[in-house]
Subunit: 222 residues, 2 copies
DNA sequence: CGTGTCTTTGAGGCAACTCAACACTCGTGG
DNA sequence: CCACGAGTGTTGAGTTGCCTCAAAGACACG
């Protein structure tokens, strides 16, 4: 029962076999789970906490491509190696499954296969939304849409959607949205001064005027 | 036999059933295949030509998220509607499959399922690469990496990798890379002046110094 | 040989970045 | 208990580079 609770986000109860190959683990804040280029031995699913996925350029520039929340997967690429580094933003727990076993189970259980397929499609959708945000939105618009997405995802996870909790740092937000930390900070300030949000502290954002915030974002989160 | 040729890029010969539900069609340049928000009735695969996928903001800003080449898929999202508009860049041919039938076949044929899953993972990988390009590269770097990616994809399609043919307009490139057409043009000029490329005409790029171009791109295409 | 579309080039402004200083929190240790 | 330092976030000043606006060149098509 406890095991099921641990990986509840993962699967239908029918697939007990998954549990037999599952390896639970946990990460302290800033701890690295896998590094870009490392052989892809396991597929992971996050059960609690938050991860950041990123790639680095030779000169140190970083692009965070996603923040993972419980239920999200990692290591679904079809290559021999991980294509991104995964690090814990906050204390996190996850379940790992050896790829070989996973692939065997996927063949046996179409529903597992369908589930991973679906999660990949959702990740693709999010990446495409992110392309629009990175390519065509102004800094304030980026921050506004970022907040709305976080709010929506919190609701999906059964948490309150309004005071949005930012577990990540300004640096993380900057590297996710293609900005500098200063511009991130100034954009928050701008939204606060305009009365669209309140900032009780740096990691807590109260959405005061959701309608206006949505208008600023230009696109509603989906 | 001819039908197989048409959709050769699509599937192993074993799945003749696919052919029975397949609907071939073709598009003239600039013709729209599907529009964002429209009910998702078919899954498509491109057999020849090139498509652009994009989403628009209310104020007219456009973000192209991908250029599709033969063998690429479209409409794999898991929602009720298409989430992007698809337009032909040049004359294109494609195969369509009703989603309901497709899903039925996917359950019957794990290999088909696996194939679509794989194509989705590849698309996700490309989208993530694109996030890095959009978020962290300077204009010249964006153009350099764009050229290298196009070159690599041409090779994958059994075509010469060096004179890179740009079927799309500068506007398309700008909307794909998050730039303006002027900046795209100036970046091409900059690369030309530095002797890394030659521009016989606006839609033909000869890579003169691939090593240097890769260095400028910061990341090698994969 | 016009006409329209696409591309390139130039000039100037503004917004985001760079550099810098300061405020704040939170441990640690004197 | 407070001093100190590291890490994080905010704000200010100046600069750079991309975008905006403008015009001219290149090319296809009728």
């Amino acid at each position: 029962m406890r095991k099921q609770a641990i990986c509840a986000a993962l699967e239908d109860h029918e697939l007990d076999e998954l549990q037999s190959i599952m390896i639970a683990s946990s990460l302290a804040p800033h701890q690295t789970l896998v590094e870009e280029g490392e052989p892809r031995r396991k597929v992971f699913t996050l059960t609690s906490g938050m991860l950041r996925l990123y790639t680095m350029l030779p000169d140190g520039r970083r692009q965070i491509t996603a923040f993972l929340l419980p239920g999200d997967y990692l290591g679904l690429g079809d290559e021999e190696t991980y294509d991104e580094t995964a690090e814990a933003v906050i204390e996190s727990k996850l379940c790992g499954f050896p790829v070989a076993e996973m692939e065997r189970l996927m063949e046996l259980h179409p529903r597992l296969h369908a589930r991973l397929y679906q999660m990949t499609r959702i990740a693709l959708r999010q990446a495409r939304d992110s392309q629009m945000i990175l390519g065509r939105l102004a800094p304030v618009e980026k921050i506004a849409s970022f907040l709305l997405v976080l709010s929506a995802r919190a609701v999906e996870h059964g948490q309150p959607g309004n005071p949005v909790h930012l577990a990540m740092t300004r640096m993380d937000i900057a590297d996710y949205l293609g900005l500098t930390i200063e511009t991130v900070s100034r954009s928050f300030t701008k939204l606060r001064v305009q009365g669209l949000i309140r900032l009780p502290d740096a990691h807590q954002v109260e959405i005061v005027d959701r309608r206006a915030l949505t208008a600023v974002a230009g696109i509603e989160p989906r």
